[in-house]
Amino acid sequence: MLFTSYNFILFLVIVFILYYCIPKKFRWILLLFASYFFYAQAGVELLLFLLSTTVSTYIVSLQLLRLSGTQKAYIAKNKTVLNKEAKKAYKSKIKKKQWKWLLACLFFNFGVLAIFKYTNFTIANINSLITAFGGTKQLNFLNLVLPMGISFYMFQTMGYLIDVYRGTVQAERNIGKLALFVSFFPQLVQGPISRYNDLSRTLFEKQAFNSSNVWFGLQRILWGYLKKMVIADRILPAVNTIINAPEDYQGAYVLAGMIFYAIELYADFTGGIDIVIGIGQIFGIEMTENFNRPYFSKNITEYWRRWHITMGTWFKDYLFYPISICKPMRKLSKWSRNHLGEAVGRKLPVYISTLVVWFVTGLWHGASWNFITWGVFNGVIILLSGECAPLYQWFHKRFRVENKIWYSAFQILRTFLLMSSLRLFDCYRDVKTAFSMFGTLFTKWNYEVFFNGSMLELGISTADYMVLLLGVLLLLLVSLRQRKGSVRQQMAEKPITVNLLAVYLLFMAIIILGAYGIGYDASQFIYNQF
C-alpha cells in the first residue's frame, strides 16, 4: 500500500475515525491491528518476519530484565558481606550472561536481515571471483523478496534491545506494546528510526482528541504529499532519462542529473518523513525529527548531523562508540601511542571506527558496491575534512570570512555539490559508470545544453519545469522560515483565514499539480527500498 495510493488514504481515514471513536485505553491496540493490516498488504507471509523479530526481542529483553533483577536482589541481600571486588565480579558475571543473550538475539535478527538483503549480492561477488580465477561454474541467484521496511524496523528494534541491555531502557513487559513499537505503520516503511524512550512516551498513552494536534498533523501530511507528488515524482522522469543512458547523457547532463536527483531525493525522503510524522501527530504521537534543513549545511559532518538524523545517531550510538572505545581498540590505541606516536594513537580509533561505520552505512542502503563505495567515500571525506580543520580555522582567521554571508553561501553550495556528486554512486548502474560520469563533468564541455532546449527533451515539459521551479522556491522559502521555529506555528498565529487559505492552496496544488494517476507511473518512496 503506497502512501500515495487511494487505498492508503482511505485506510488512514478509517483508522483515524475509529481511533477517536473507541475508548482511550484501546487506541494503541487499534494502531497495532492497523499496522499489521498495513504490513499484510505487502504479503501476509511477511508478517512472520515482523513476528519473529518481535518475539525474539521480547523474550531476550525479559531475560535481560530478569538477570539485572536477580543482580539487584543478590547485591541488596548480601550488601554487608560483599566487598567491592566481589560485587564487581558478580556484576560482570551477570553482564556476561546478558551479553550472551543480547548477542544471540542480534545474531538471529541481523542474520535474517543479512540473508534477505545480501545473499544475492554475496553470490554475485563469489561468482565474479570464480570467473576472476578462471572458473566457469556459477552459483544461481535465489529469489528472495526483501521484506518491506526490514532495514528500518530491524534497526529500531535492535536499538531497543541494546538499550535494554545497557539499562537505559526499561524492558517492555507487554508484548503487544512491543509489537506496536516494532510495527507502527507510518514509520514501518521508511523510518524515522525511533528510540524506545522517545516513541513510547506518546505511543501507548491514552490519547485524547486534540484539535490543534490534528490540524498541525494534517498540514504536515499535506506538506509531505506536496513534496512527494508535486516535486519528487514530477522530476523523476528527467532523472531516469539521464541516469539510465550514461552513454548519451554526459557532462552538463550529469550536473543536471546531480541537481535533479538532489531535489528528487530531498523532496521524496523528507516528504515521506513529513507524512509519517504528520500521521503520528494526528494520532497524538510524537516522533523524532529526521531532518534539519540538511542542504543548508556548511560541511559534510554537519550535513550528516542534519540529514537522516535517526540513522546517523543509531550508527553513532550502537556502532561508532562501541567500536571506538571497546577494549581492543583502546589497547591498540595505547600500543600505537607508544610505538607510532601520540597523534596516531589518538586518531587511530576514530579512523578505524569511522571507516567501519560508513562501510556499514553504505551496506545498509543497499547490497551493491555502489552504496559501499558511496559510504566509504563519505567516511574518507569526513576524515579528510577533519584533517584539514586546522587549515580552515587558520584560513578563516586569516581572512576573517567566518561569518560573511557570501562565504557561508559558498560553503553551503560547496557542501551541496559535494554530497550531490557522491550520490552519483547510488544513481548509476555501477561504480565504474559513476566514476566516468563524474569525469565527464570536467572533460565534456557541453554546457550549452542548458540553453539550447535540450533540457526539454528529458521527459519533462516546460509546464513541469515551471511547477518544479515554483515548488523548489516554496521549499526554499519554508526552509528559511523554519529558522524562526515551526512554520505551522507561525501560520497559526496569522489570522485564521490566511491560515486556511494557505492550507487550501496546498491541498489544491497537490490535487491539480500532483504527478499521480494515469499517465504517471506510481512510484515508490526511494527509501522504501532500503
Binding site: N125, N127, S128, A132, T373, V380, L384, F395, R429, K432
Partner: protein, 172 residues
C-alpha cells in the same frame, strides 16, 4: 579554500585509484542485477531487411520497396491511423504514436516466406517446438513464444499444421 580544492582533488584521485579496485566486482554485480533486463526480440527478415517489432517504420518501408497493396484504418474517434502494407507473402501492420508509425506485427499470408529460424505455413507443431523450444504459452489452437518486446505466434489447424504465422509487437 585552497585546501578544499586540494581535498576534492585528493578525493577525485582516491576515486580514480579505487576504480581499478572495484571495477571487476561491480561489472559482475551489475550483471547480476541486470539479469531481468529485456533482450532483443524476434526479428523477421525479408531479403536483407530486418523487421524489428516496435521499430520505426520509415527505414523498413524504404528497404522493403513498393508494397503491392496499402490500407489505412482510422481508429474510432482517434487521430492515429493503423496502416497495413501488403507485400508478396506477408503483411506489415503499423501503429502510430504521435505522428510516428511503429511496427505492430508481420503476418504471413502463404508459405513463400519463412521465419528467420526457417519455419513457414504448412510446417508441423513438432517442428515449431523443435525450433523454438518448450517455453511457450498455448491457447486452444495457437502457440505463442515471447521474447523481449516481441511475440511469435503460430496458429495451428486442428492443432497440428501451422495455418498462420505472425510476429507481434508487445506494446505497453
Amino acid at each position: 579554500m585552497k585546501n578544499k580544492i586540494i581535498l576534492i582533488l585528493t578525493a577525485i584521485l582516491a576515486m580514480s585509484l579505487m576504480m581499478t579496485g572495484c571495477g571487476s566486482n561491480t561489472a559482475d554485480s551489475q550483471e547480476a542485477s541486470s539479469q531481468s533486463a529485456g533482450e532483443a526480440g524476434f526479428i523477421f527478415e525479408s531479403g536483407d531487411t530486418k523487421v524489428v517489432m516496435n521499430a520505426e517504420t520509415t527505414d523498413i518501408l524504404e528497404s522493403l520497396g513498393k508494397e503491392t497493396d496499402y490500407f489505412e484504418a482510422e481508429s474510432c474517434a482517434f487521430k492515429g491511423i493503423d496502416k497495413t502494407y501488403t507485400y508478396s507473402g506477408f503483411r506489415l501492420y503499423t501503429y502510430p504514436v504521435d505522428e510516428v508509425d511503429y511496427v505492430l506485427s508481420v503476418e504471413f499470408m502463404d508459405d513463400s516466406v519463412s521465419t528467420t529460424e526457417g519455419l513457414s505455413i504448412g510446417d508441423t507443431k513438432e517442428k515449431v517446438i523443435e525450433t523454438y523450444g518448450e517455453d511457450y504459452e498455448d491457447s486452444e489452437s495457437s502457440i505463442i513464444y515471447t521474447k523481449g518486446k516481441s511475440q511469435l505466434k503460430f496458429i495451428l489447424d486442428s492443432g497440428e499444421v501451422i495455418s498462420s504465422i505472425e510476429y507481434l509487437a508487445v506494446t505497453d
